[in-house]
C-alpha cells in the first residue's frame, strides 16, 4: 500500500504487516529480508517505511503495570502518549517529556528520542525511560537500561528503529496537581530579544517560541516566547480546584480535503504571522491554559497536514551549538525571509546539554519549520542544510524526508559510528527504513 509519514512526502509503495502478538512479530523479523517498525506514522518523512516489510505496532498497545510510588508505567510499544494521558492524568500523572503531538507511540518516542518544551531543564525522552525490551535480529527480546546492556539502550534511544524493534518500555511519569498550565507569553521583537528571553528563563519548566520567519530587517526573528508551569491546586480558581484534572474536552476539527497549493503563499502566511504576533503580544502576561491546548494545539485539528496540499510538505529541524546559535539562526532566517518562503509553523527552542550516541538534541538552539513541497523549496532546503553545516549544526531525523547521505555525514559524524555499530552487530541488513537507505546509516 502507499505509505508516507505525516508530511505526506515522499509516498512509497510498501508492504505493511500488522502483527497481533510477539510470535507474529518474531516471524516477520526472522522471515523478511529486512523490516522497520512503525508506530502511529507521525515521523514526517520516511523514517518508518520499509518497502518490503513495514511492521505496524498498533496492536501491541497494552498497558502492563503502573507503580504509584515511583510513577513508573510499563507499556507495550504501540501505546500512544494520548492514551497515557487519558488514563493517568485523572490520577495525577503526566508524561515527563512529550513532543508537540500526543498521537505518537511510546515506541516511536523511544526511537526518535523525542524532546519537549522542557528539554533545557529535563532533557529528552531517554531521561525518563527506565528500561526497554528490544527484539533483535535473531528474534530474541532483551531488556536494556542505562545499567544493563547500556550500549543497546543508548543506541536505541534515538536510533530510529534501526537497532531492533522496541516492544515494551518502562517510562516514568511526573506527578501533577492539575491538568492546567500557567502560561506566560513574552513578546520578543527580534531574534536577539527572543534568545535573551530564553536565557533569562532557564528556570521555567517549559519554554518554546513561535517565530515569524517572514520578518525582515528589524523584525528578523520576531517571536513570542511562551513559558509554562504545571498549575498547582493553589493556582486554580475555586471552581476549577474542585476537579483539577478535568479540562473541557476540546472539539476535534478535521481538515476535510487537501488545500489547493496556492492557499498558502508568502502573502497569506505574512498576514497570518503579523496578526498572530500582535494577538500574542496583546495577550502577554500569564494565563491558565488546559494541557491539551498548551502541549498539543495542532492535535485539535485532525489531519492538519492537508493544509499543505496534495504534494505534501517538508519539515526542517536543526540544532546549533550554543556559541554559534545566533549566527546560524540569523543566517537561516535571512535566507528564508529573502526567499519569501514563509513557514506557517516555525518554532524556536533552547536545548539543554545532552550527550548521546545518535539522539538529535545538543545544547544550543533548535529551529523547526515546515514548507509545502515545491522544486523551489527543495532547492531552498539544500541551502539551509549548507548553512546548518557551516555553523556546526545537525538535523532531526524524525523530521527529515529529503536530506542526502553526504549532508548527514557532514553535519553529524556520529552517523558513521552508528552505522559501524549496526554493521558490527548484524543489524544493518535486518532493520532498515527508506530513510536509513537514503542516508546510508
Amino acid at each position: 500500500m502507499k505509505l508516507s509519514g505525516w508530511g505526506r512526502y515522499p509516498v512509497i509503495d510498501a508492504q505493511v504487516h500488522v502483527p497481533r502478538d510477539i510470535d507474529a512479530l518474531r516471524r516477520l523479523v526472522l522471515s523478511e529480508p529486512s523490516v522497520i517498525a512503525r508506530g502511529n506514522g507521525r515521523a514526517y518523512g520516511d523514517s518508518a517505511i520499509n518497502r518490503g516489510a513495514t511492521i505496524e505496532m498498533r496492536h501491541l498497545n497494552r498497558m502492563l503495570a503502573f507503580d504509584p510510588d515511583t510513577g513508573q508505567l510499563v507499556t507495550e510499544a504501540g501505546v500512544m502518549l494520548g492514551d497515557v494521558i487519558s488514563a493517568f492524568l485523572p490520577r495525577g500523572w503526566f508524561p515527563t517529556v512529550t513532543p508537540g503531538t500526543k498521537f505518537v507511540t511510546i515506541g516511536g518516542a523511544v526511537a526518535a528520542d523525542v524532546h519537549g518544551k522542557n528539554h533545557h531543564k529535563d532533557g529528552s525522552f531517554r531521561q525518563y525511560v527506565d528500561w526497554i525490551d528490544v527484539m533483535g535480529a535473531d528474534g530474541e527480546i532483551v531488556r536494556c537500561s542505562p545499567e544493563e546492556r547500556a550500549e543497546l539502550f543508548d543506541n536505541t534511544l534515538g536510533g530510529m528503529g534501526l537497532t531492533g524493534i522496541v516492544v515494551r518500555a518502562a517510562i516514568r511519569l511526573r506527578p501533577v496537581e492539575s491538568g492546567w498550565i500557567r502560561q506566560t507569553t513574552i513578546p520578543a521583537p527580534d531574534l536577539k530579544a527572543a534568545m535573551a528571553a530564553f536565557e533569562a528563563t532557564q528556570d521555567a519548566t517549559y519554554s518554546v517560541a513561535w517565530i515569524d520567519c517572514l520578518g525582515t530587517g528589524a523584525n528578523l526573528g520576531r517571536s513570542l516566547v511562551i513559558l509554562g508551569e504545571h498549575a498547582a491546586l493553589a493556582d486554580l480558581p475555586p471552581d476549577r480546584a474542585q476537579e483539577p484534572y478535568v479540562t473541557k474536552a476540546k472539539r476535534q476539527r478535521t481538515v476535510p480535503f487537501d488545500f489547493p497549493s496556492f492557499a498558502l503563499n508568502r502573502f497569506s502566511v505574512r498576514a497570518f504571522n503579523a496578526l498572530y504576533y500582535r494577538a500574542g503580544a496583546r495577550k502577554s502576561g500569564t494565563q491558565l491554559v488546559d494541557w491539551d491546548s498548551y502541549f498539543y494545539p495542532l492535535d485539535a485539528i485532525l489531519r492538519w497536514n492537508r493544509i499543505y496540499g496534495r504534494k505534501g510538505f517538508a519539515q526542517f529541524q536543526c540544532v546549533f551549538p550554543l556559541d554559534r546559535s545566533e549566527q546560524g539562526l540569523s543566517a537561516l532566517l535571512e535566507t528564508i525571509s529573502r526567499e519569501g518562503a514563509g513557514s506557517f509553523l516555525a518554532v524556536l527552542k533552547r536545548f539543554g546539554p545532552q550527550e548521546s550516541p545518535f539522539s538529535f538534541p545538543m545544547e544550543g538552539y533548535t529551529l523547526a519549520l515546515d514548507f509545502p513541497i515545491t522544486a523551489r523549496i527543495l532547492a531552498l532546503l539544500e541551502r539551509m542544510d549548507r548553512i546548518t553545516i557551516d555553523h556546526g549544526g545537525r538535523f532531526y531525523l524524525a523530521k527529515d524526508s529529503r536530506m542526502t547521505a553526504a549532508t548527514l555525514r557532514a553535519a553529524d559524524p556520529r552517523s558513521e559510528t552508528f552505522r559501524g555499530m549496526r554493521e558490527q552487530q548484524g543489524l544493518l541488513s535486518r532493520f532498515r527504513s527508506a530513510q536509513a537507505e537514503r542516508l546510508s546509516i
Binding site: 498497558m63 503495570a65 487519558s86
Partner: protein
C-alpha cells in the same frame, strides 16, 4: 455509585475488546469471557490500568452449549449488560467444500450465541432488568453467493434477537441487534474493503454504547448501510440470482 458489570462474550474479538474498553471507560467493571481466557491476562491488566475498574476473566466456549447454564450461574456477579461478539466467518469456498466447516460456522454464529443469550435472558427476566446485545451482521439481511453460510446463521441470530426483544420488551429487558457492516478486524484482515463502508472496532463500540443509552433496538453502525441493505433487500430475486454480489 458503583456500576454493575458488563459481560463480553467472545472477548478476544476486536469488536468484543473495543466494547470492553468503551464500557470500562464509562466506569463499568468488565467480565471478559472467551476460550482460553487465561491468555487474555494482559488485556485484563490493560483495562484495569487504563480505567481503574475491575476486570475478570471467565472461561467460555460458545459451542459447548451444555456449559452455558453453569457458566452464567458461576459468574461472580450477574452483569447489567451482556454483549455477544462471538462469530466465525470461515471462507465461503471452504464452507461449500467441507460441510463440517460449514456447520461450525452455522453453530458459531447462531447456535452458540443464541444459546448463551437464552440463558442470560431468563436470568435478566427474573430480575426484570438488563440489556442483551447481539452482534449480528448485514450479511444476514439477504443470502448472497459469496457468504451465505455465514449470512444464513447471522439471519437466524437476527431473527432470534428480534423475537427475544419482542418477548422481553414488557419485562424490562432491553435487546439490541447490532449490524456493523464491514469492520476492520482480524476477521476481515487482508480483504479489500471500501473505506467509506468500513468502520473501526471503536466506532462499533461507540454505537453500541449510544444504543444502550438511547434504548435503540436495531442499529447499523454506519448509517450508509441502512441504505445499502435497503437496496440489496429490494432487488427482485429474478435479477438478484444472476448478480455477482
Amino acid at each position: 455509585m458503583t456500576k454493575r458489570p458488563v459481560l463480553i462474550l467472545g472477548a478476544r474479538s476486536d469488536i468484543g475488546m473495543a466494547v470492553a474498553h468503551r464500557f470500562a471507560a464509562a466506569g463499568h467493571p468488565i467480565q471478559l469471557a472467551a476460550r482460553n481466557a487465561a491468555t487474555l491476562e494482559t488485556n485484563r491488566t490493560d483495562i484495569e490500568l487504563r480505567y481503574g475498574v475491575q476486570a475478570t476473566l471467565h472461561e467460555f466456549d460458545a459451542l459447548a452449549t451444555e456449559t452455558h447454564q453453569p457458566f452464567v450461574a458461576d459468574l461472580p456477579e450477574l452483569p447489567e449488560i451482556a454483549v455477544c461478539a462471538v462469530g466465525l466467518m470461515g471462507t465461503q469456498e471452504e464452507n461449500e467444500r467441507d460441510i463440517a466447516a460449514a456447520c461450525r460456522v452455522m453453530r458459531s454464529n447462531y447456535e452458540g450465541p443464541a444459546s448463551i443469550l437464552a440463558v442470560l435472558a431468563n436470568r435478566f427476566e427474573e430480575d426484570g432488568n438488563g440489556t442483551l446485545i447481539g452482534i449480528s451482521s448485514v450479511a444476514g439481511d439477504r443470502g448472497r453467493a459469496t457468504n451465505y453460510v455465514y449470512g444464513s446463521a447471522k439471519a437466524g441470530f437476527t431473527a432470534f434477537l428480534s423475537g427475544l426483544r419482542n418477548r422481553l420488551a414488557k419485562r424490562g429487558v432491553h435487546v439490541v441487534t447490532v449490524l456493523p457492516g464491514f469492520v476492520a478486524t482480524q476477521m476481515t484482515e487482508g480483504m479489500d474493503l471500501p473505506a467509506r463502508l468500513t468502520a473501526q472496532p471503536a466506532e462499533v463500540a461507540d454505537a453500541i454504547a449510544r444504543a444502550v443509552e438511547r434504548r435503540k433496538d436495531v442499529i447499523y453502525v454506519r448509517p450508509v448501510w441502512r441504505v445499502v441493505m435497503l437496496v440489496i433487500r429490494n432487488i427482485p430475486e429474478r435479477i438478484f440470482k444472476r448478480m455477482k454480489i
